[in-house]
C-alpha cells in the first residue's frame, strides 16, 4: 500500500478522535445482474466502522442492508470499490486468508440463519471451532456453554428442522460466537424472538461489546437496539442516508416525543 493512503488513514484516524478503524469501505457498489434485469443494490457506500463500536444499521426492506453486510463481512466481492478489514484490502487476500478471517475474526448471524440442516444444534455451533483447530472435547464444552448462553442447552441434539424459527436464530447466534470473533455481523438477530428472549440476546450483545470490546454491526428494525448502540446508520436505496451518534438521535426523538 502506498504511503499516500497511509497518510490518509492517519488523517481520518486523527479526525475521528484517535479511534481505530476496523472496517472501511471506499466507493463500494454492488450490482446484481439477472439476465437483462440489473439491480443496483449498493450505489457507492463509504463508511468507517471503529474498533469496539456498536453500530446499528436501519433501513426499509430491500434497501441493501444484507448486501452491505456481505460486502463488509468478506462474504461477497463488491462490483466496484474496496473494502478494508483491519486496514487490509479484502480483495488482496488469498483463499486461505479469507477462510481464516471468516473463521476467527468475524462472526456472522444471517437473516435466514443458514444452519447446516444435517447437523445438530451442537454440531452447528462446533463446526467453526473445528475449522479453527479446537479439539473436539474442548469444542463440545465451549459449544454447550454457548448453547446455555442462548438458552438452548437442553436442545443441543435437535436438528434445525426440529426447532422453531426463534430457536434456530439462537443457534445461529451461538455459532457466530464460536471462535470469539472480534467483529460480529448481525442481520436482524432479534427478528424472530419474543420480547423477553430478544432482551436476553440484546444483553448478550451488549455484554460482548462492553466487556470484550467486540465490534458489533447490527441490522435491525428493533428500536430497543437504539438504546444500547453507539451509532446509527440509515440505508435507503443502496446508499447511506444518514449516520448519527446515538445521543444526537435521542435528542431528536426526545424533541419529537
Amino acid at each position: 500500500m502506498s504511503t499516500a493512503t497511509e497518510h490518509k488513514v492517519e488523517d481520518i484516524a486523527s479526525a475521528t478522535g484517535g479511534k481505530r478503524v476496523i472496517i472501511r469501505s471506499l466507493g463500494m457498489k454492488k450490482i446484481y445482474r439477472r439476465g437483462e434485469e440489473i439491480t443496483h443494490a449498493l450505489r457507492g457506500v463509504d463508511v468507517e466502522i471503529y474498533t469496539g463500536e456498536f453500530i446499528v444499521v436501519m433501513g426499509p426492506s430491500g434497501s441493501g442492508k444484507s448486501t452491505f453486510f456481505n460486502m463488509i463481512g468478506a462474504l461477497d466481492s463488491p462490483s466496484e470499490g474496496r473494502v478494508f478489514i483491519d486496514e487490509v484490502d479484502v480483495a488482496q487476500l488469498t483463499a486461505e486468508e479469507l477462510a481464516f478471517l471468516r473463521c476467527r475474526k468475524i462472526g456472522y448471524i444471517f437473516q435466514s440463519y443458514n444452519l447446516i440442516q444435517y447437523m445438530t444444534a451442537l454440531e452447528n455451533v462446533t463446526t467453526p471451532m473445528a475449522f479453527g483447530g479446537v479439539t473436539p472435547d474442548e469444542a463440545r464444552r465451549r459449544g454447550m456453554d454457548l448453547l446455555e448462553l442462548v438458552g438452548l442447552k437442553d436442545r443441543w441434539f435437535h436438528r434445525p428442522i426440529e426447532m422453531s424459527g426463534g430457536q434456530q436464530q439462537r443457534v445461529a447466534i451461538a455459532r457466530a460466537l464460536a471462535n470469539e470473533p472480534s467483529i460480529l455481523l448481525c442481520d436482524e438477530p432479534t427478528a424472530n424472538l419474543d420480547h423477553r428472549t430478544g432482551d436476553e440476546i440484546l444483553e448478550i450483545l451488549q455484554k460482548l461489546n462492553k466487556e470484550r470490546g467486540v465490534t458489533i454491526i447490527c441490522a435491525t428494525h428493533d428500536h430497543r437496539m437504539m438504546n444500547i448502540c453507539d451509532r446509527l446508520m440509515w440505508i435507503r436505496d443502496g446508499g447511506i442516508e444518514r449516520i448519527a451518534q446515538r445521543d444526537e438521535v435521542e435528542v431528536e426523538l426526545g424533541s419529537i416525543e
Binding site: D76, E87, V88, L101, R104, N114, I116, T127, F131, R175
Partner: protein
C-alpha cells in the same frame, strides 16, 4: 500494512472430514439411495456384459477340444473322401512346424520332403494374410475388387494383368479400406504364385492317390462301416495309404463310429409304428405326437431305457450288443453334445478385445460405460448442486476449499463404492443365471472366478471413479466462488 496470519488455520483430520461427510449422507439418505441405485443399474449393466463375455470365453476355451472330438468321425470321412482345398493347405502349411505328424503325412503322400514343405512356410503365411484380408471384407467390396472368385482362385485371377489393374485402381478408390501389406509385396507374391500353386497341386494329387488307395481297399462297404474297424485291418490300410493314424485316435474313432451307428439306429425307431405306439402309450400322447426329443428324454433314465430296449426287440429291430446302460449313456452323451453345440454357437465371437471378450462385446461395454457415465454424472451433479447453499454456509464459517472438495469426494467415493459393489453383485447374479440356463452343467466346469473377480473390481473402480469425477467439477466450481455467490446459484 498488517497481514493476516493464517499459520494456525488447521486442516481438518481425515477422520473428522469422513465423519462430517457420512453425517451428510445419512441425513440425505433418500437422495443417496437414489444416486446409489443409478450407479447400481449402470454398473450392473457393465458387470453383466463383462461376466457373460468372460464366461463365454472360458467355456469356449474349455470345450474347444471336446467340440473337435465331437466332429472326429465327420472329419475322417471328409479326409478319406476328398483332398484338402488349396486354401486349407495354405493354412496348414502356414501353421505347422516340423516335426509334426500333419507335415509328415503330407510329405509321405506327396513325395515332397519335410524341408521342402517347411521352406514353403513363409510364402504360405504371406498367402494366409492376403486370404484373411479378402475373407474379412464384405461381399460387395470383394466382388468389385476381385470379381466372383474365392479362396486361392483369387490369386489365380489377380495374376492376370487386367484383373490386377482393376484391383489396384478400385482399391485406391475405397478410402476406408486399407490393404494390410505393401501392394508391391503382393505383386511379387503373385508373380511367384504359380510356383506355390504347383506345390499345392502336387500335395493334392498325393492326397488323391492315397484316397483312391483306401477306396479300392474298402470295396463295396460304406466308409462308415469300414471305419468301425479302424483299430484293425482297415486302420492298417489307412496307414499304408499314408494317413497318420495313431492308435489312440483309431480306438476313439471306433468308439465314435459305434456311437454314431447306435444313434442312427435309435433315431430310426421313430419311423417304426410299434415303437411309436409303445412310446405314445407310455407317455400318454397320440402316436402322431411322439417326437425324437421325447424318446431321448426317456432313454436318460435307465429303467425306461431297459423298457425301450424291450420295445425295440419286440419290433424285431437289430439291437446287436445294445444294453440299457449303453442306451442311457448314448442319450446322456447326446444331451451333452447338444450343450457343446450350443456353447459352440454362443461362443463363436468370444475372442480378441478387452480381456479377450470379443470386439463386439468390448464395444458394447464401452457404450454402456458412456451411458453409465452420463447417468452417474447427472445423479452426482444433482446431489451437489442442490447443496450449494450448504457449501456457501460452510465457507462463511471458514471452511477451506480443500475441505469442501474432500467432503464431496468422500461422499461420491462412498456412493460410488456401494453402488459399484451392488452393481457388480447384481450384474454377476443376472449374468450367472442367464449363463446357467444356457450352458447348464458346462458352466461350472469352466467358471472363470479370477477373471470375474477382476471384472468386479473394475466395475467398482469405475463406479467410484465416475462418481468422484462427476462430483469434483461442480463442487470445485462452488468451492471457488465467494460464499454469497455460491448461495445465489440455485
Amino acid at each position: 500494512m498488517k497481514k493476516i496470519d493464517v499459520q494456525n488455520q488447521p486442516v481438518l483430520s481425515p477422520g473428522r472430514i469422513i465423519q462430517i461427510a457420512v453425517t451428510g449422507v445419512k441425513y440425505r439418505l433418500f437422495r443417496a439411495v437414489v444416486t446409489v441405485a443409478v450407479i447400481i443399474v449402470a454398473m450392473a449393466f457393465l458387470m453383466n456384459i463383462l461376466t457373460e463375455s468372460l464366461i463365454k470365453r472360458a467355456i469356449a476355451d474349455s470345450v474347444r477340444e471336446q467340440i473337435e472330438d465331437l466332429h472326429r468321425v465327420d472329419r475322417w470321412i471328409a479326409r478319406l473322401t476328398m483332398p484338402q482345398s488349396g486354401e486349407e493347405l495354405l493354412f496348414v502349411l502356414a501353421e505347422e512346424e516340423a516335426p509334426s505328424p500333419v507335415l509328415g503325412e503330407i510329405s509321405t503322400m506327396s513325395g515332397l520332403s519335410i524341408d521342402a514343405l517347411q521352406a514353403l512356410r513363409p510364402k504360405a503365411q504371406e498367402a494366409v494374410r492376403y486370404l484373411n484380408f479378402f475373407n474379412e471384407i464384405d461381399f460387395g467390396r470383394r466382388r468389385v475388387l476381385v470379381g466372383p472368385v474365392q479362396g486361392v482362385a483369387t490369386f489365380d485371377r489377380l495374376s492376370a494383368d487386367p484383373a490386377w489393374h482393376q484391383f489396384t485402381s478400385n482399391l485406391a478408390d475405397m478410402r476406408v479400406l486399407r490393404f494390410p501389406e505393401e501392394l508391391s509385396d503382393f505383386q511379387d507374391f503373385l508373380a511367384e504364385w504359380s510356383e506355390l500353386q504347383a506345390k499345392l497341386e502336387t500335395i493334392r494329387e498325393g492326397q488323391q492317390r492315397s484316397i483312391e488307395q483306401v477306396r479300392n481297399a474298402i470295396g463295396d462297404r460304406s466308409l462308415m462301416s469300414a471305419l468301425s474297424d479302424a483299430d484293425g485291418d482297415f486302420g492298417d490300410i489307412i496307414r499304408q495309404a499314408g494317413f497318420s493314424l495313431p492308435d489312440e485316435t483309431a480306438a476313439l474313432l471306433v468308439r465314435d463310429v459305434r456311437r454314431v451307428k447306435n444313434t442312427q439306429l435309435i433315431e430310426s425307431t421313430i419311423n417304426i409304428a410299434e415303437v411309436r405306439q409303445a412310446v405314445a402309450a407310455e407317455r400318454d400322447v397320440l402316436p402322431g405326437d411322439v417326437t425324437m426329443r421325447m424318446i431321448w428324454r426317456l432313454l436318460r433314465n435307465q429303467d425306461r431305457a431297459e423298457w425301450f430296449l424291450g420295445v425295440m426287440r419286440d419290433a424285431e429291430l437289430e439291437t446287436g450288443d445294445l444294453t440299457a446302460e449303453r442306451l442311457e449313456a448314448i442319450a446322456n452323451q447326446r444331451a451333452y453334445a447338444r450343450l457343446l453345440t450350443i456353447a459352440e454357437q454362443q461362443t463363436m465371437e468370444a475372442q480378441g478385445g478387452l480381456m479377450g471378450i470379443g470386439m463386439r462385446m468390448t464395444w458394447l461395454a464401452f457404450v454402456s460405460m458412456l451411458v453409465c457415465a452420463v447417468g452417474i454424472a447427472n445423479a452426482m451433479l444433482m446431489s451437489v448442486t442442490e447443496r450449494f447453499r450448504e457449501i456457501a454456509t460452510l465457507k462463511c464459517l471458514g471452511a477451506l476449499d480443500a475441505f469442501i472438495m474432500s467432503i464431496f469426494l468422500i461422499e461420491a467415493g462412498l456412493l460410488g463404492f456401494v453402488g459399484g459393489l451392488g452393481g457388480a453383485i447384481a450384474g454377476l447374479l443376472l449374468a450367472g443365471l442367464r449363463m446357467a440356463v444356457i450352458f447348464q452343467s458346462l458352466l461350472w466346469t469352466a467358471f472363470p472366478w479370477q477373471d470375474i473377480l477382476v471384472a468386479g473390481l473394475i466395475s467398482i473402480g469405475i463406479g467410484v471413479l465416475l462418481a468422484a469425477i462427476s462430483a469434483v467439477y461442480p463442487s470445485f466450481r462452488a468451492a471457488r466462488l465467494a460464499p454469497m455467490e455460491a448461495m445465489r446459484i440455485e
